[in-house]
């Protein structure tokens, strides 16, 4: 009887209703957001994130940085904290910030990040930063900036003539842009590296979702990019570096608990599997 009871318990465990797993994930994600002050530090800051931070930190005031917002709402949890942290860092250093996108949903999300940072540091649209919006054509648009940015973005997102904006003074090609960070949940950074960096020598960093990060490690090892912000952890690391804990760190807490839950379920699943196999072989 006891054996049958144990066996049925193992079988029940192997055929566990997936709604229990869903419930565990839901609690793991939601609870850290509901508990006040539950913001985990990012852990050890990766040298790749540190490198982007150091590059921006080392630029003199009024240098020009370009952020490519090539992601959509699906990747907001990972990408938006990254974009906000970068914008805040650049504006805190009095850099001029140019936002562009070759992803159609990027400009509105990029605009939100730019405005959030600008409000905090009292920066003015058109003077200290600009959102040039979306341009179709992908690699052609990126290459076009190398010859004349105003041919690719004759107006900004609000329809103003981009050449007349104070923030754009002295900016014509990649030669006048001190640092570019391609933020993306798509393969767009490959085009940025191939054309902006390789063809025109632009200095570049990349920020991508965690699932894509390993695709860009080879470019780090060959110094084609100076740094890499890797998913939500990278965003939390950047928030840690600029001492602005926000959604990156909050998300990191939720992700920590969710990862622990998945690890726990995998271990339970394996224990049940080995018990079942030992019994069926026996």
């Amino acid at each position: 009887m006891e054996d049958t009871g144990t066996r049925s318990f193992v079988e029940r465990l192997l055929q566990l209703d997936r709604r229990w797993i869903f419930l565990g994930i839901a609690l793991a994600v939601v609870v850290p957001f509901l508990v006040p002050g539950f913001k985990m530090r990012s852990g050890v800051v990766s040298p790749r994130t540190q490198s982007i931070y150091d590059t921006i930190n080392g630029l003199p005031a009024q240098s020009v940085v370009m952020f490519a917002f090539d992601y959509g709402p699906a990747s907001i949890p990972e990408m938006q904290p990254m974009a906000v942290a970068l914008c805040k860092h650049a504006m805190s250093r009095d850099l001029r910030v140019i936002g562009v996108a070759i992803h159609p949903q990027g400009p509105l999300l990029g605009g939100q990040a730019l405005r959030e940072a600008a409000e905090e540091y009292g920066k003015q649209d058109g003077v200290d930063y600009v959102n040039l919006g979306y341009k179709p054509g992908g690699a052609a648009a990126i290459k076009g900036i190398g010859t004349n940015i105003y041919k690719v973005f004759p107006t900004d997102l609000s329809g103003r003539n981009s050449a007349t904006l104070a923030v754009m003074q002295g900016v014509r090609t990649y030669d006048n842009i001190d640092f570019i960070v391609a933020l993306s949940s798509t393969p767009a950074p490959f085009s940025w590296i191939a054309f902006a960096h390789e063809a025109y020598g632009a200095k570049m960093g990349v920020g991508v979702t965690a699932v894509m990060a390993t695709d860009f490690y080879p470019y780090l090892q060959t110094d084609q990019i100076v740094g890499l912000i890797n998913g939500l952890k990278g965003a939390a690391e950047y928030e840690d570096l600029i001492r602005h804990p926000s959604y990156g760190m909050l998300g990191m807490s939720a992700q920590s608990v969710a990862h622990l839950w998945i690890i726990l379920t995998v271990i339970i699943g394996n224990i049940a599997f080995f018990m079942w196999r030992a019994r069926t072989r026996g």
């Binding site: 990766s46 959509g72 990747s75 997102l157 390993t214 920590s256 998945i262 690890i263 699943g269």
Partner: protein, 262 residues
């Protein structure tokens, strides 16, 4: 003519861009700039084609009253509303389009993507089993990367996690290598001897990496993973060069429509 003219255009444009790369001159830059303008205009027309295809598909679905045709109504209605609001009031906040994007589209899109976490957790529970030595190595590595990607990993790492992980990994390597050795040498390899060699290596390896879980994860991602990745990248690059040359030289004609390559 229908085939020759597009092939000729493709050949000329391809060769110009190829040769231009090696001639950094004012006129070659101007020529490239002009061609890139054309490329962007052609790219914009692709958007028009995409929209017309979307509309045709859904109108047809409604007309024929196909299954779930109600969703097509929603698609068309959303398309019309987004177009009217975007063209009529612009994109800048506080425009109605920005409101819809921020409070309707963005949460819906993020929600759809977030469902992935639930399915991944369920799939991991059901399929991530240590059935073979190779599967066990993958399982241990995956679990470790999961720990290394969150701060909790760094908190747990100093408490013997590395040694336990390395010992388990070492055991799996012996488990995987032993039958292979026995098969290829034709004699029973000294199992204990192998274990004696692997175990100290794994302990030394764990001590070397025992700074933090995130450092180990970085090592896993930047050394063994990249070793495989580089091979894939080189293969893809060579394939891209071959395909580009086939298109420029008119050997590959699938992009012209109506069939595959020659």
């Amino acid at each position: 003519m229908k085939v020759q003219v597009p092939i000729a255009i493709c050949f000329i444009a391809g060769m110009i861009m190829l040769v231009k790369f090696f001639i950094p001159h004012y006129w070659s830059d101007r020529l490239e700039e002009e061609l890139l303008n054309w490329a962007r205009i052609v790219g914009a027309f692709a958007l028009v084609l995409g929209i017309s295809s979307l509309l045709r598909t859904h109108v047809e679905k409604i007309r024929r009253r196909r299954r779930d045709y109600g969703y097509s109504f929603v698609t068309l209605l959303a398309f019309i509303i987004a177009c009217v609001l975007g063209i009529g009031w612009g994109l800048d906040p506080p425009s109605p389009f920005d409101w819809i994007f921020t409070y309707v589209f963005a949460p819906l899109d993020a929600t759809m993507f977030s469902l992935l976490a639930f399915f991944v957790a369920s799939a991991a529970y059901r399929t991530f089993r240590a059935r073979t030595p190779e599967a066990t190595i993958m399982l241990l590595t995956a679990l470790f990367v999961m720990l290394g990607r969150v701060p909790v990993g760094d908190m747990l790492a100093p408490h013997g996690l590395f040694v336990a992980w390395a010992a388990a990994l070492g055991f799996c390597i012996v488990w995987a290598v032993y039958p292979w050795l026995r098969h290829h040498t034709g004699q029973a390899a000294p199992y204990v001897g192998l274990l004696i060699i692997v175990a100290p290596v794994m302990v030394a390896f764990s001590l070397y990496l025992a700074q933090s879980a995130s450092e180990t994860t970085e090592w896993l991602m930047s050394v063994p993973t990249i070793a495989g990745k580089r091979g894939i990248i080189l293969g893809v690059a060579l394939g891209s060069i071959a395909t580009s040359l086939r298109i420029i030289l008119g050997i590959e004609r699938a992009h012209l429509g109506g069939g595959g390559g020659s």
